[in-house]
Symmetry: C2
Subunit: 227 residues, 2 copies
């Protein structure tokens, strides 16, 4: 069976950047599953698989289609139970939803505000029009207005990762001694910022930086290969 | 075997208030274990069990002593594996540490600043002197100065619970369909505020309020009995 992951990229398809797609890339490597990644422009998502999904990641495993990063992770866990677990049991499956809540509502809004101009700059022209209109509407400011508060958000980001920093005193990964999907959730957010803006705004001495670097190295450096 | 939980109270020993002790109270009920709670004043902690611990909760199970709420939960899970799990497996055990990180670094600092004056008011005189000195040093302000920003912190609290609110769209508890120790971690923080300040600063329509109320009802209303 062939696994295809539809993901997201700008004009340069060698640099897929979506945080949600990165979660799935890491999850597929974690399960040791071979896959082909097909990065799409924003405006290309509705054109594949007969418009099955309005968003990526979209996974095609044989004839089976699944969208949404968390649902894909649950699908992989259920379909490939003999391979390394992404959740470490039912409790981990449930609590990964809390980590998702944290990443989506605390980290993503700030990264969006840092990176929105950089994302716009890397898109192909047709995507740029869609992206500017939808993001300016969602955020209530023009891309140019958002640029003025960018540096303040960069400064804020390390502080928002304090819960992770506090946890790292006890264990090296959110998954415990080894990473689980919950790690890939927060990794996806920082990887998105790294690819789009070239920023890892955490000092070398920060344990969160060490955690992120070790995830960049994981799975033969799958994350580090894209910059 | 008799289980004793040393916890924390003010002049009125019928109102133990420590967030960390509440986590353990809920964990003991979760495991269906009978126990005797012995609330101590701050300055009484070092006087029991030959000064085994400088902090509560301190659990005595037969001859075995364990301190620290998370370590106690791990001890209960290991010692009573045939009773309902507090973690739902190894992944849940690890991710509960992330929930702890969130509660300790995002929720506790704000509740401390809201409740510090109320805690001082409910303590016996010997504890008051210790509490005022240690808290004013830690927070860098007098109790009277802290009172001036109290209302602003009350207003901030609902927003800080956004990750939990986001998660509740998918499931009723951090533990999934039923609560686990990770739920009791965040519950402990809000129960602390409820007992000490009489506040549950979340509107009735807030899903986090619904989650908290259901935890107050749990285990025959163990949490609701203290107000």
């Amino acid at each position: 069976m062939t696994i295809t992951l539809y993901s997201l990229a700008g004009a340069d398809v060698s640099r897929p950047f979506s945080p949600h797609c990165w979660k799935v890339v890491m999850a597929l490597h974690h399960k040791g599953l071979a896959f082909q990644e097909k990065p799409l422009p924003f405006t290309g998502i509705a054109t594949v698989e007969e418009g099955f999904s309005k968003t990526v990641p979209l996974l095609k495993d044989g004839a089976h289609l699944v969208s949404d990063s968390f649902r894909i992770a649950l699908y992989l866990e259920e379909t490939y139970p003999e391979r390394p677990s992404l959740f470490g049991g039912e409790g981990g499956k449930a609590m990964a939803r809390f980590v998702e809540g944290f990443s989506q509502t605390v980290i993503h809004p700030v990264i969006t505000r840092i990176a929105v101009g950089d994302i716009h700059a890397m898109l192909a022209p047709t995507d740029q029009a869609y992206f500017r209109e939808s993001r300016e509407k969602r955020l209530g400011q023009t891309l140019e207005q958002l640029a003025s508060s960018r540096e303040a958000h960069v400064q804020d980001l390390p502080g928002l990762l304090t819960p992770l920093r506090h946890m790292l005193v006890n264990q090296p990964f959110i998954g415990g001694q080894t990473p689980l999907f919950a790690d890939y959730i927060v990794f996806g957010a920082l990887q998105w910022l790294r690819i789009v803006s070239g920023l890892v705004p955490l000092p070398e001495s920060d344990p969160v930086r060490g955690w992120f670097e070790s995830l960049l190295d994981l799975h033969d450096g799958a994350g580090r290969k894209v910059a």
